[in-house]
């Protein structure tokens, strides 16, 4: 077993274990902390995949922004925290069966697939390549601009929705 495989198992176990924590934690704040740990594990996987930019972006966007937004929302709606609710709804067994079926299908597909060994090393300047692809008119320039418009629209929408009248 090589070092990479060991690291893969460590980060995979972190993200999956934390994922279980997210869906089972009784307190919502704990679920959010588990979610952050899951994000961290996934960031480790990105490092193993030689995509360091995405690992840092994972920390930056998911932990630094989305995680904080979620915790803020939990605190803003914290009247809910005191009440004792069953954390799962009545269809939990159905959802469990559905998720298990999905998992079985995915695993079967992944196992059968005609996957080959990695197709060569990551280029030295893969980050610069990504940047050029994102702003290249023949590449992703239009989706890139649309994505930025989407972000602006989403932020304005969010502000409008929560604004007190």
């Amino acid at each position: 077993m090589t070092l990479q495989q060991i690291l893969f198992f460590i980060f995979g176990a972190i993200s999956l274990g934390a994922g279980v924590g997210v869906v089972t934690a009784r307190k919502l704040f704990h679920a959010a902390l588990w979610l952050l740990l899951a994000f961290f594990g996934v960031a480790g996987l990105y490092v193993l995949l030689e995509a360091p930019f995405f690992a840092a972006a994972q920390l930056f966007v998911y932990m630094g922004a989305i995680g904080i937004l979620i915790i803020f929302a939990i605190m803003l709606t914290r009247g809910m925290m005191r009440q004792r609710h069953p954390r799962a709804n009545r269809q939990w067994w159905l959802a469990g069966i559905l998720a298990a079926l999905f998992l079985a299908t995915f695993v079967r597909l992944a196992w059968q697939g005609p996957w080959t060994a990695p197709a060569g090393p990551v280029p030295e300047n893969s980050l610069g390549l990504l940047g050029l692809t994102l702003v290249d008119p023949g590449g992703f320039a239009l989706p890139f601009e649309v994505a930025s418009v989407l972000l602006v629209v989403a932020l304005i929408g969010a502000v409008t929705i929560v604004r007190e009248r």
Partner: protein, 103 residues
């Protein structure tokens, strides 16, 4: 690169199914959003794994992963805004209790 691609795919499948289960099962709106975030993360692992194993010289897979980030940020901003607004008007974030249209 000693880790086979299958491992990444199976891991991301497991993460996706956990997120799916969470999104279907939880009653709190914020917890459902957390499940959706897990699913988006699983998708991103898949995208980057395929990028690394099939075509690392092109940046297409990375570009898609970047767009998933944008979508996730937009989704969580609007979703949480809706949850907070619902809490203001209805006093609850349990989505089953929000049944104004049920008649």
């Amino acid at each position: 690169m000693m880790v086979p691609l299958q491992w990444y795919l199976i891991l991301s499948a497991a993460l996706f199914c956990l997120g799916l289960y969470g999104a279907l099962v939880r009653r709190n709106g914020i917890a459902i959003l957390m499940g959706v975030e897990l699913m988006l993360n699983a998708v991103n692992v898949n995208l980057l794994a395929f990028w690394r194993y099939t075509e690392p010289a092109a940046a297409t897979g990375q570009a898609f992963a970047a767009f998933v980030y944008v979508v996730a940020a937009a989704e969580v901003a609007v979703g949480l805004a809706l949850v907070v607004a619902t809490y203001r008007t209805h006093g609850t974030v349990v989505l089953e209790d929000i049944d104004l249209l049920k008649g």
